[in-house]
Amino acid sequence: MRLIAIAVIGFFFYSCAPDKPVNQEEIPDQPASTKSAVEDVINDPTKGIGAVKSVTLNSPLEQDRVKRGLAIYEMKCSACHKLDDKRVVGPGWKDVTKNRKPEWIMNMITNVDVMLDKDPEAQKLLELCLMRMPNQNMSVGDARDILEFMRQNDGEK
């Protein structure tokens, strides 16, 4: 019953979302899959929606990635996210890697518009911050670097 309800809501989303012009650039998510984004959330709601399906984390941290992640953070993220737990425009990053799956974090960074439209957790953050997180034109590689920097910020070695 619950599944049906979700399916109906999913249908509602698709029928009401404005049709994008056919030539608009699509974010390359789920290339060969026939599943809808909403089905993905049902499968594993904690991983978010997007190209990132699984992430391997290494220990100790990859220092090259940490360095690049910090540089990207300073250029594109620091205006809204602080490194402690204080919310400014967006939430502070302290403990984000403990509260979210790495896949969810990377999908949020690389596929933010779809996440804000369809992912329940991302939508909760939007209601809290009242500011759509901007698409900062990040590749999956950039997001992986940021993730490594976040892990360091959360005390991993």
Binding site: P18, P21, M75, K76, S78, A79, Q136
Partner: protein
């Protein structure tokens, strides 16, 4: 045909002619029929089939419309300052309008030339001319911005410009007014015949960068050079210019320049000119002119002053230039898609001559001349003539072409477009325009591959076409469907400025390569703050440089103290957004220049000079988010000489 049918025909033609000349077109009910609205309708959210790049005339801009909807997509400043986005006001764009006369914030942009490869549009650049203070500009069609402006020295007004060769080898810039060219320019005006000369610049275009330079100038007899077209196909290597005032009048040209039965089409063999240039026949002439280039990595323009051009004198160097007699002050001088036919449109003539390139070549080979003008051969009119279009209409100005061998000529005086066959010279159809058409445009019309679907009329008189708005009215343009035998009016649309020439090209050539953002990683602006942590304020003497960042929805720093009356404060604002269509703006109270708009990843600078002590607000002018109204800050201004320390912050605790 029996006698009865003949007389019916005669009557019908007489009636048609009477209706043509008796009545001024009365309005839509007369011309609008059937499914016109559906043909111009582009549903909400759908795209137009063509981009129409339209000169703005006296507004010094280009405008971009979608065709067939007539929707205005963009106003693009070229030769005129544009307070709306800071063009010509920001520190980065001011050098674009530099000239040998200093900063010139306005011009009169008449003609568009789109870059071509093998005679067809390639969607890379749009060029425009500055008619008043002679200049040409290059606009990039991936970002729709003016990227380069080159001043034209030794020119009295750049009208026959910027027409382009089939592989974008050259643009031309022909002087509208002849002026004294010698060492001593302080001469009596009535010494026109001895001292005044014409000048045609050939501007080479770098095929990779698009950068322009004056490769050579032709020094030509003193009269007026009006319009131009490059040859193509068989006539590639030649350029054709219409001329008027071969009487060489210097006063009351309305009468004195309309005395001769025929003026000239000037045919220029530019390949020959290149040979003379390579052989070192050019003379270096001191000439001061500005070359302004915009660099998208530093987001800044630079202006370089140049001091020399190479001149080829066509009265001394034979075989570069030939004159073809052309009746009555020709205006348009248009080459058909095959490159064989050259249409001269005498503004005051009752017929239009069409010249044949093949016959012109034969006449030159046979020296079939009727005389010379200042030593330049004048080809015998009939020897170069393909034929005349008889009684096409009154006041022919410009001709565009379709893909079926037809030509479309604008008739200013009789206010109509006349369709005729280029080979047979037979008039096929005519439609009224509202009112007094100037230029006209068929998508791809001046190229080797026209898309004969629409013709757009750019009219000079508007009168009653729209709701009245006082003495000054929007200009009126009209779109006609020309896919069938009969031209059909499908849409009226108002335009900004006063369009002269325009070109249209298929949207598919450019829409997918349109730039969306500037990458922050590639921003090399010396005052960029690439990240909020890099925001700062520095004092250098009485200059204060604010390295500011903007992101939805705050400016950093947003509290600045230690600025003093008399300082020059530079706000260098970097937009940290990296998403399409998220510009931010910046304005500060009392700024005597303008605002700036900053595109994602870009840095732009607004200079501000505080005059009185106090606290001055600044804010973002481009509605960016739900909290846009919060995107603001304060500068504290202390009296000159005060010791208020320089401080800056965002979100600092009290």
């Amino acid at each position: 045909m029996n006698k009865l049918t003949k007389s019916i025909y005669t009557l019908a033609i007489a009636a048609a002619l009477m209706s043509l000349y008796n009545c001024k077109p009365q309005g839509p009910k007369e011309a609008l029929v059937g499914n016109a609205a559906a043909k111009a309708y582009v549903a909400p959210g759908q795209y137009d089939e063509f981009y129409n790049i339209v000169s703005g005339g006296f507004n010094g801009q280009m405008a971009v419309y979608g065709i067939p909807s007539g929707r205005l997509l963009k106003i693009l400043p070229v030769f005129s300052v544009f307070p709306e986005n800071g063009y010509g006001y920001s520190e980065e764009t001011k050098p674009m309008l530099n000239t040998s006369h200093g900063f010139v914030p306005w011009d009169d942009l008449h003609h568009i030339a789109l870059s071509t490869t093998k005679g067809v549009h390639d969607g890379r650049w749009a060029f425009g001319n500055g008619n008043n203070t002679p200049r040409v500009a290059r606009v990039d069609l991936s970002n729709f911005r003016t990227m380069e402006i080159l001043e034209i020295p030794n020119s009295g007004g750049n009208h026959s410009s910027p027409f382009i060769t089939e592989n974008s080898e050259y643009l031309v810039a022909g002087t509208r007014f002849s002026v004294p060219m010698g060492e001593n320019k302080d001469v009596p005006i009535n010494s026109y015949k001895e001292n005044f000369k014409g000048s045609i610049s050939f501007i080479k275009i770098n095929p990779e960068s698009g950068h322009m330079n004056i490769e050579f100038q032709l020094r030509t007899p003193g009269f007026n050079y009006d319009l131009s077209r490059a040859g193509k196909g068989p006539s590639h290597g030649w350029f054709f210019f219409s001329t008027y005032n071969t009487e060489q009048a210097h006063t009351l040209l309305e009468v004195n320049a309309s005395q001769n039965d025929k003026d000239f089409i000037m045919a220029v063999n530019w390949k020959k000119a290149e040979e003379y240039l390579a052989a070192g026949k050019g003379k270096k002439v001191k000439s001061r002119y500005a070359h302004n280039l915009y660099d998208e990595s530093t987001h800044s323009a630079t202006s370089t002053m140049l001091d020399e051009v190479t001149v080829l004198d066509v009265t001394e160097l034979k075989d570069i230039v030939y004159f073809i007699p052309c009746p009555k002050s020709p205006h348009g001088c248009d080459v058909d898609p095959s490159g064989e036919y050259i249409v001269g449109s005498g503004k005051l003539a009752a017929m239009m001559p069409v010249f044949s390139f093949t016959k012109l070549q034969k006449a030159i080979a046979d020296k079939d001349y009727e005389g010379d003008f200042e030593g330049i051969p004048v080809v015998r009119y009939e020897a170069a003539l393909h034929g005349e279009v008889q009684k096409p209409g009154l006041g022919p100005l410009h001709t565009e072409f379709d893909d079926k061998g037809n030509a479309y000529t604008s008739m200013f005086v009789s206010s109509e477009i006349v369709k005729w066959n280029v080979k047979t010279l037979e008039v096929l159809d005519r439609v009224p325009t509202y009112y007094s058409i100037g230029h006209l445009s068929v998508p791809g019309g001046p190229t080797a591959k026209p898309y004969g679907k629409y013709v757009i009329a750019y009219n000079k008189i508007t009168k009653d076409r729209y709701l009245p708005t006082g003495p000054e009215l929007a200009q009126s343009a009209q779109i006609y469907d020309i896919s069938g035998d009969k031209m059909q009016l499908i849409l009226d649309f108002p335009t900004v400025g006063e369009p002269h020439y325009a070109e249209a090209l298929p949207a598919s050539l450019i829409k997918d390569k349109s730039l969306k953002i500037y990458k922050l990683e590639e921003n090399k602006h010396p005052y960029a703050a690439l990240g909020e942590g890099k925001a700062k304020v520095e004092r250098k003497g009485n200059e204060v440089h604010v390295y500011m960042t903007a992101i939805r929805s705050h400016l950093t720093p947003d509290n600045i103290e230690g600025v003093r009356v008399g300082d020059d404060v530079y706000f260098h604002v970097t937009n940290l957004e990296q998403d399409w269509d998220v510009p931010h703006g910046f304005a500060i109270r009392g700024a005597t220049n303008a605002e700036i708009l900053i595109m994602p990843g870009e840095t732009q600078t607004l200079k501000w000079k505080p005059l009185v002590p106090g606290v001055v607000p600044f804010y973002c002018t481009d509605f960016c988010s739900a909290l846009h109204q919060e995107m603001s800050g304060y500068v504290r201004v202390s009296p000159a000489g005060s010791s208020t320390p320089l401080k800056f912050s965002t979100g600092a605790e009290d």
